[in-house]
Symmetry: C2
């Protein structure tokens, strides 16, 4: 009889989150130490409900195809477990004699690992609890970048490459809303495909800096005078100097989630309100807004090969470390060189990443409405190449 | 001295419209009969303003990269020329001794060709005027499908494949708005990537059928009972039985263009209003809406190889026919077999396509909220393959 391991996938899905799932499954199977590998259906929800899928004997062809399939194959959850919920997770593990737990997710998932591991320690239950990083927001501490980010960034970069050419063909003011509540890394990637000085996005607004409506209108006016067109990347998370989300100020009503956060994704409201503002205040004619929406995180076929490889490797590394006897931790991607791009995986304590948020470093920004050459240099090797563009 | 040819690109851009531009340029150059090949900047606008770009001596590597670049390299226009405008087009041609005119666009562009050719004939000016088809809407008469449609359909199909998996991981009601004012072909393509009976889109609404809000809510209620989640494809052009666009009925104010059409694209309003309706009337919790927007027509890297090839071929054929002495026409793609897929190009008179609109044949629809197996069979070979998906 071998050990029983549980793997879960939490939070918003990505196109490479199944690479991490498959990496973990393959490493566990290869060790020969596990008789049962369980996938928790819908993350922590499946653990407390006893809802698992047996991953022990999936054949390799199926695993390979699964790894290349977007979104969380096990299902996901937005539940953010409190202490009582974590007690139920631990009880479920004890009931099944689960000694290895691997949780693929963001900073909340890392915090869940931390709490469950602490409770296990306190009750004298031997448990290995590992966090495997995942988030398109790229907002985990200690990581140069996180699995899921590079592919989403590639999607955003390509979307803006196309939309810049579209806007060049039929001129106007175009506002595109990009995901990211607190961190602007994904919105900044909009600029990665620019070739000519006249290419958009001409303006980039990230949540790291306070958003001022008058400055925004002045910026557009300036770009319109120069280029007679304007493509704008706006993070869904922009807020004013007091921290109030712009969407709350513009919209009559906003939906809030269980954590009291206003709903940002799954609605075109922010873009539409900004477009209306530009039409009204600047008297501009052709003003359009698109919200890139959920396509950013789960679009099949737009995958960075760097991202796919790293998502697999961080999961393998977590399994390997746990088998070497380290009882808990998270695996961080740390860059060692940009040209050529190299990175190493570093094991860090759960506390280093749990419930913390990383935002863009100051040197990635250029003024209040653009990214710096340093950001472009940083992001480019992560994208695994962009389509070639030729302009007359 | 050889002839002078003018090429223009009109209306909404596509990812393969430059394939048609390059196909025409290469065929004209290969004939050895042209000393000057001019591209009209921003379509008819450039012709009347005398704003051209010289395409005569572009080197082949640049042409090849240009062909693979999305959006209209010459720039485009939404101008719909009346008789006076067409007189100015003809005057510009006479001034430059232009005897060959190739216009890449939809049914309006075909009509412009028709009017200018008629005026040339009436004034005894020898002019060859050819329409080269292009539209993601696939609404041109006599065509099985039009260049630009297949790649946009591939984007929409992949977007829904990813979004279905996203919705499966985090269940809820998801509404996605797809382009198409009168024809539902593009919205219907949302269903092309479904594998399992439980895969979304579970509901598909096209403008060929009247949209009824109560039926819509009842449909969602039924799907939610069966699958506990619901992914919905909605054409931006849906209207009620009286022909009134649903967006006009739901929104407080809508923008209208020069032709009196309400603005459909470049806003999330329709999706947001439908989501609000579902939340209010069905008491549903997690209801989200995305509007696929301009990404559908210009996303670099998501290109059907069938589409790219055909976009090039229709343009070559138009040039060849004109050189054989046929003074005007349009080139239509007509399918000769579905398994394996084969098609032939047919020359048709401008009148057959000008200012007319094709919509989905009845056999492509199944009931009021789904597409038929016949549609899936029809659309599949056009997409050039979809990413492989594996589910647990």
């Amino acid at each position: 009889m071998g050990y029983t391991a549980v793997i879960g996938q939490s939070g918003g899905p990505t196109v490479v989150i199944n690479q991490s799932l498959v990496g973990a499954v393959e490493a566990l199977a290869a060790s020969g130490k596990f008789s049962t590998i369980l996938g928790a259906k819908n993350a922590v929800r499946g653990i407390v409900d006893g809802n698992f899928v047996d991953l022990t004997n999936l054949e390799s062809g199926r695993l390979k195809r699964l790894a290349a399939t977007p979104s969380s194959a096990l299902g996901s959850s937005r539940d953010k477990p409190d202490a009582a919920y974590c007690e139920r997770i631990l009880a479920s593990f004890k009931q099944r004699d689960v000694r290895y737990f691997f949780y693929i997710g963001g900073n909340d998932s890392s915090d869940t690992c931390r709490i469950v591991k602490q409770m296990a320690d306190q009750s004298g239950y031997e448990l290995n609890a590992w966090h495997i990083p995942k988030t398109i927001d790229n907002d985990l501490m200690e990581n140069d970048h996180t699995p899921g980010y590079a592919s989403a960034a590639k999607f955003v970069a390509q979307a803006f490459m196309g939309d810049n050419l579209d806007n060049k063909a039929l001129a106007g003011i175009k506002i595109n809303i990009v995901m990211g509540r607190h961190a602007g890394f994904l919105t900044a990637a909009a600029a990665a495909g620019r070739k000519l000085d006249s290419d958009g996005p001409h303006l980039v607004y990230v949540p790291e800096l306070a958003f001022d409506v008058d400055t925004f209108l002045g910026d557009i006016d300036r770009v319109m005078k120069q280029h007679k067109r304007c493509v704008i990347a706006v993070s869904e998370g922009i807020h004013d100097a007091a921290g109030t989300p712009i969407i709350s100020k513009l919209a009559q009503s906003v939906e809030k989630d269980a954590h009291g956060n206003v709903q940002l994704s799954g609605s075109g409201a922010l873009g539409d309100h900004l477009a209306e503002l530009v039409k009204t205040k600047l008297g501009a004619k052709r003003v359009r807004a698109d919200t890139l929406g959920y396509l950013q995180r789960c679009f099949p076929g737009v995958v960075s090969d760097v991202d796919a490889r790293e998502a697999n490797l961080v999961a393998r590394r977590a399994v390997e470390e746990s088998l070497k006897g380290r009882a808990s931790g998270s695996v961080a991607i740390q860059r060692t060189s940009t040209k050529p791009y190299t990175a190493e995986l570093k094991v860090i304590p759960l506390e280093a990443v749990a419930a913390k948020t990383r935002t863009m470093p100051r040197e990635h920004l250029a003024g209040a409405s653009n990214v710096s050459p340093a950001f472009i240099e940083w992001v480019t090797p992560l994208l695994g190449g962009l389509p070639e563009i030729e302009q007359l």
